[in-house]
């Protein structure tokens, strides 16, 4: 049989893959080795961009550390809160369906618009949060204090994305076999023991999946920062993606932004692989 015609069938898929993934990556690598402006076009400058990135740009590395801190903190909080909520509505409780839907609402809203609303909430002189806090005679600078601004970003991120974690974990809980729980009841295990020795170990594989998915998503954090603080005050909430965006699309240093993007991609691939391995070891112990 002659299978040459297989390429005809492969073409649509390959075309899309090349168009949206392979070509952009290759182009970014090429771009990162160039300066790019309307006068000179794409001029090859070797590793110059990378040398600048690794020797002369602490702002990028600071933003990367900030991003790591923000994504690990938000995902941890999302996991803990999401698990607690999922565990709550997993059991037969009153208004179970109502709560299940209620907890999903934040995820169904548009992040940018919700962030605008949160910005209004946290507005230092006009927002309702500080209005309420007036009772205690405090008026925190939610968006202009470097530390508090980070916390504000975390609050908004956790609010927006905990439902996603909740959904994955609830699906996981609902798919668990019944027998281990019956056996634990027969063995006389208390609710805490049941959670530690039955629920949590059984949920480990799905937890790892959920955490990894959220970590990937969380490290792309951009719209929240953009709308809420624009990376400020100063650079105290600036994350990698936001910094790359500033360099590339505000200052139009395309070549340099490309070199940062590519470096970022490599670091992310390595660190997420390591995190997945570590989590698997830690939670599954295999």
């Amino acid at each position: 049989m002659n299978f040459k015609h297989k390429y005809v069938f492969l073409f649509p898929g390959l075309f899309v893959l090349i168009g949206i993934l392979i070509f952009p990556i290759i182009f970014v690598v090429r771009l990162s080795l160039s300066g790019w402006n309307s006068y000179n076009g794409l001029n090859f400058i070797g590793l110059e961009n990378y040398i600048r990135l690794f020797t002369d740009d602490p702002r990028f590395w600071e933003s990367f550390i900030r991003l790591s801190f923000l994504s690990v903190t938000t995902v941890t909080l999302q996991y803990v809160i999401g698990f607690a909520l999922a565990h709550m509505v997993w059991k037969e409780i009153k208004f179970q369906r109502f709560f299940r839907v209620l907890f999903l609402i934040p995820m169904m809203t548009t992040p940018v618009i919700m962030t605008v609303i949160w910005r209004t909430f946290f507005h230092e002189s006009l927002g309702p949060v500080n209005d309420l806090l007036q009772i205690f005679d405090v008026a925190p600078k939610w968006l202009t204090d470097p530390t508090l601004a980070k916390i504000t970003v975390i609050i908004v991120e956790v609010w927006q994305w905990t439902p996603f974690m909740f959904l994955l974990l609830l699906a996981g809980l609902l798919s668990l076999p019944k027998e281990p729980f019956l056996a634990a009841a027969i063995d006389g295990a208390s609710p805490i023991r049941k959670f530690i020795y039955v629920t949590f170990p059984l949920m480990a594989p799905i937890s790892i999946g959920a955490i990894i998915i959220r970590l990937i998503e969380a490290s792309k954090i951009m719209d929240t920062v953009y709308v809420l603080t624009s990376g400020g005050p100063g650079t105290s909430t600036e994350t990698s993606s936001f910094y790359i965006f500033i360099k590339g699309l505000r200052e139009f240093q395309m070549g340099y932004a490309a070199s940062m993007s590519f470096t970022y991609l490599i670091i992310m691939i390595i660190s997420l692989t390591v995190i997945a391995k570590v989590l698997t070891k830690l939670l599954l112990k295999d």
Binding site: A183, I186, D187, Y197
Partner: protein, 357 residues
């Protein structure tokens, strides 16, 4: 350990319906302390429901369960002192084998010495001693099932260990070993063991008493011998034994004989009080022999096939439209066309409306 008394128990999964359907029809039964029971029946006959009622996972729609005269109907599983082994092994995967076995005791705040002593004793019986320090998840399926069983046995106060088809996931040769193991445990600890299965061999080799169920009904309770020789209904005759009992439509012809296709067969049953002359004659293939010089109860059949099944030959023959199966000695030579079979009267069971007379 205690005597378990099931008093007029029944269960329906839709009790509020005007016409509830019963997963378990009302029945009463007593399980003596320290005996081995098997609940046998086809899938969906209510075996697991019965087991779950005893363990407290299901509350019966009506009736009472008494453990040594104490009413436990409304008690939860954890306060009933019952152990249950499920079809698939349940282990605490993050713990070692030792911790798994110790878990039920630790949950009940036993002292370290008692825990150690009980765990070691049970591990010894179940041959798990060399694995005690290993993580439980590293063991094979049958060893994991032993752990589940062991968690039931470490508690001295269990009223009974209930097992829901516990050997399903286990290899055939190991099954045999484990069943023997279970018997030894029963003899050593005098624990009441209740074993649910759909495999008659398992039930017959394991239990002192077998409870046969069909469609939510307890059809017969008895020793393996009773079930084999005097099945109370045609269902039991059909369900137990391999091949199933031979059942022939027949008519009564005198006080103790029936007619099958014009051949008169004498039985040891008194048939004088029957209202109806349509009955079924049941006889195990094990009891049908090739006629030598008998004059009575001999039927002439056409041989259809003879299969050599290793330890015996299975003869399948036709008499008119009836099929007869007989287990015969391997050494016996069988004619390939016509053969005379002898039906011993004392082994005949006569059924009226599917029930033994």
């Amino acid at each position: 350990m205690s005597k378990i008394n099931l008093n007029k128990i029944s269960h329906s999964y839709n009790p509020n319906d005007p016409n509830p359907t019963y997963a378990l029809n009302p029945f009463s039964m007593v399980w003596e302390d320290g005996k081995r029971y098997a609940i046998l029946g086809p899938s969906g006959c209510g075996k697991t429901t019965m087991l779950n009622i005893v363990s407290g996972l299901v509350r019966p729609s009506s009736g009472k369960i008494l453990f040594d005269e104490k009413d436990v109907t409304d008690l939860k599983t954890e306060s009933r002192n019952i152990a249950q082994v499920f079809q698939f092994p349940v282990i605490y995967s993050t713990m070692t084998v030792y911790d798994n076995l110790a878990f039920p005791l630790r949950c009940r705040n036993f002292s370290q010495e008692i825990v150690e002593e009980r765990v070691n004793s049970v591990a010894e019986t179940l041959n798990l001693k060399s694995f005690l320090k290993l993580p439980a998840r590293k063991l094979t399926a049958d060893q994991k099932q032993l752990i589940s069983l062991g968690r039931g046995l470490v508690r001295e106060d269990v009223a009974a260990v209930l097992m829901d088809e516990p050997l399903t996931v286990i290899d055939p040769d190991l099954k045999f070993k484990l069943r023997r193991n279970l018997k030894e445990i029963n003899e050593k600890y005098k624990t009441t063991l209740v074993y649910v299965t759909h495999d008659q061999n398992e039930a017959m080799t394991f239990a002192d008493n077998i409870i046969v169920m069909s469609e939510g009904e307890v059809v017969q309770t008895g020793t393996p011998k009773e079930l084999f020789e005097r099945p109370k209904t045609t269902f039991v005759g059909y369900f137990i034994g391999s091949p199933a009992m031979n059942l022939f439509e027949s008519e009564t012809s005198s006080n103790n004989s029936v007619k099958i296709n014009d051949t008169l067969i004498k039985t040891s049953t008194d048939l004088s009080k029957l209202k109806n002359n349509k009955v079924k004659l049941g006889i195990r293939s094990e009891f049908i022999k090739i006629a030598e010089n008998q004059k009575e109860n001999v039927i002439s059949v056409d041989v259809e096939k003879v299969e050599d099944l290793g330890n015996y030959k299975l003869l399948t023959a036709k008499m008119g439209n009836l099929t007869i199966k007989s287990k015969i000695n391997r050494e016996t030579e069988v004619s390939s066309e016509k053969v005379n079979l002898y039906i011993p009267p004392e082994k005949c069971c006569v059924y009226e409306d599917e029930k033994l007379i």
